[in-house]
Symmetry: C2
């Protein structure tokens, strides 16, 4: 993409309303623009990252055998009355009256609707297990929206729901989600630690939140430092294997790691003092097993092997998709701007032309740009007439992990400069070698 | 995908509320389920087609140089008051009051918000031309929603907006959209005819609707039959070329083709009688040039080359994404069910095991299934214990364009059966040859 044809409205000044670094950088990098309190437009650069995150989630959900679908944003109040949550949910639910005076709402979560779909279509244990999920916009009418996309009102969420015959099966689904989420976050360059949490309005006994450690996190967290050394990595896993999923759960949850809601000082004190850590964390996901709470209230039963009607065991599992952009930036930035992990970067690399209009520099940039596109990569080529300093500042701000700098002086020696945004290290090399290195980094060589 | 692990709740009976064939088949094939009046959940099979259509649109928009972004579904009433449309829009706008008693709405279209984004960030002619688009949920509180996704209340729409310095530039953007839409619909297996139309609440003088001919269409249309012989095909086009885009517009709009809103009997009668056609059509998209209507009302100006502040020329361009599923089915079905065009089919082909449990048949099906997946294709393998007749009925209903039938009798002779859903023609051939043929059809050989 040529910058001259793109829409990247970077801001020189930091908007006054932004209190945390991710909000500041998302506004300054032209990723989002506030439409009204807690509600944002996703400008092209922000939208690209949102889609990258969404795609990673889809790929990892498919790997775990979960089936994508989509539920509407506006729902009737009736189902929520059936579950008892319509009155219980409080002022954060955006309530709407349509032209026929029917009570509607903008859905904050979808346990009721998915349970309704299930009960209308599934009647036998033979159709279980079943896990479906969606990635869809949600609304929560926060009284004081803040921190940009981290605590907005309209937000993008992955929510998945498992239906199983027995508690044992449903706990396997729970574990499978935990494994899948570990892989998902790692692919985004994030360490998200599963911590024992409180279930809140969803209900249920078993629940873990996934937290990214960051100074600006809203939750206080307590953990055994050994937990930060765990990596899921590229290990092969059979998501159908109860034992394998259980083993991963045990590995990642046996050490102390809790949010303030479930923190237990006495238990924490059994961790050797040198490994006890208190920090702040950003919640980027949560998994729940809540058994038959909704299936009993809403009559979602199946016939078991003996022909008895039994309520299904359920759980729900969420990832805060739009919030993840904020969390990733909080975890990966410096004082010049964002530093995107390769897995979610909006463009694979930047190309900076130090002297737009110089025939040789233009030709070299065009060639690098075309070569990267031919490899299936998506570079951002700054072909504008800005001075070099401004071009570097923009590239640093928007945080592309790699930059190829092209200028007449280097070209005389047959080289361009390849720079890592993360380390700041540069090397000079021929244009073809720079392209080859980018291809190698992204595994398309 | 193995059907035993999928969620495909096909219905034997036709739900009474469905009046048109696409609505009936979408319900029966387990593609959608009504959540409340005019609001649908997209079950896995329906969701897959929705995504296929969405991806084609994204690819064709990228080809035309348009930039994707995303605007929120809930917007403040303030901007709509600025344009004057808040009061003008009427009861179809879903109006909402938030917890702070602010007037909000569920956006039916986004001219105001995109114009606000533009005016806040663009001030010079040097940043033009610019076209941005989104694919996002919209809401229109229809008094009498009907025909399933064809006239629902919550619907998925592609809406794009161009900003240009002059009327001439904006008309090029208009033509570019027309060309791009022709390609887009053809890739979905649809003939959508651009017809001169009425601009309605969007405003403006120049507008074409794209209509798919179908008995159940809501619009009456009048056209010269020569127009149905036009194909855009696979021709190369330079979207930056004013001449090339203009030529396509002329080719596709010079013959008489109008909806009842703009029909002119006297002009129509100049078409030779043998070529005069009256039919019904489904509107699947519309393009508008409305000049400075919004930019003047909202102060979206840029400085031109001489330093004068001038309002930008704009247009907007929409594709009814969710409605397209209905339109494609109306245009492509028979009395057994849907017949998906290859470009949008939810699965590339079906595999029917005539004798699940037979070791040889199971092994052959597994091998075909794995071979197709290895080619990057997405087959649906019916590995259930249903009898053959029911399996065929389901495959016919859900409309996969190709089916491979595997049974012990054929395998004894080393063959399986490959059947075209469209023609009903079958041929016997070795399993490897059937896989190779499917690969060839989808261009992955």
């Amino acid at each position: 993409m040529r910058l001259s044809r793109y829409f990247l409205p970077v801001l020189k000044e930091t908007p006054a309303e932004a209190q945390i670094v991710s909000h500041r950088y998302m506004l300054r990098a032209g990723m989002i623009k506030q439409a009204s309190a807690g509600i944002y437009s996703w400008l092209p650069l922000g939208y690209k990252v949102l889609r990258k995150i969404e795609n990673i989630i889809h790929e990892e959900q498919a790997r775990a055998g979960h089936i994508p679908m989509l539920m509407p944003t506006i729902q009737s109040a009736d189902l929520w009355r059936e579950s008892g949550r319509y009155d219980a949910y409080g002022a954060e639910m955006l309530r709407i009256t349509d032209r026929h005076d029917r009570d509607m709402l903008y859905t904050p979560t979808a346990e009721e609707l998915i349970t309704d779909i299930f009960r209308a279509n599934v009647s036998s244990y033979r159709d279980l297990p079943l896990t479906m999920y969606q990635i869809q916009w949600k609304f929560r009418d926060e009284i004081r929206p803040r921190f940009g996309v981290m605590r907005g009102r309209e937000f993008y969420m992955k929510d998945g729901y498992n239906f199983d015959l027995t508690k044992e099966d449903a706990l396997h689904a729970y574990n499978r989600h935990l494994v899948s989420y570990l892989r998902t976050y790692e692919r985004m360059g994030l360490q998200a630690i599963p911590m024992r949490a409180d279930s809140g309005p969803i209900g249920g006994d078993d629940t873990h939140e996934f937290l990214v450690l960051a100074e600006t996190g809203e939750s206080e967290v307590f953990y055994d430092s050994e937990i930060t050394e765990l990596k899921f990595g590229d290990r092969a896993i059979d998501y159908d294997s109860v034992e394998q999923c259980q083993a991963v759960l045990e590995e990642f949850t046996s050490r102390y790691a809790r949010t303030d809601e479930t923190h237990d000082e006495a238990v924490f004190n059994q961790v050797p003092e040198a490994r006890r850590r208190t920090a702040r964390g950003i919640e980027v996901g949560q998994i729940f097993y809540f058994g038959t709470k909704y299936s009993e209230a809403m009559g979602a039963t199946v016939s078991d092997k003996d022909g008895n009607q039994v309520p299904v065991h359920m759980g729900s599992h969420g990832i805060g998709v739009s919030r993840l952009l904020g969390a990733i930036i909080e975890a990966s930035h410096d004082d010049r701007g964002i530093i995107w992990p390769e897995g979610v970067t909006p463009f694979h690399c930047g190309i900076v032309n130090l002297k737009t209009g110089d025939a040789e520099a233009d030709a070299a940039c065009d060639k690098i740009h075309a070569a990267l596109i031919a490899l299936g990569l998506d570079p951002l080529y700054d072909d504008t007439n800005e001075r070099a300093g401004a071009k570097f500042a923009t590239m640093d701000l928007i945080g592309l992990p790699w930059r190829i700098t092209v200028g007449p002086r280097g070209l005389k020696n047959g080289v361009v400069e390849l720079t890592s945004r993360r380390t700041g290290e540069s090397e000079e090399l021929p244009p073809e070698a720079a392209v080859a290195k980018i291809a190698e980094i992204y595994g398309v060589a």
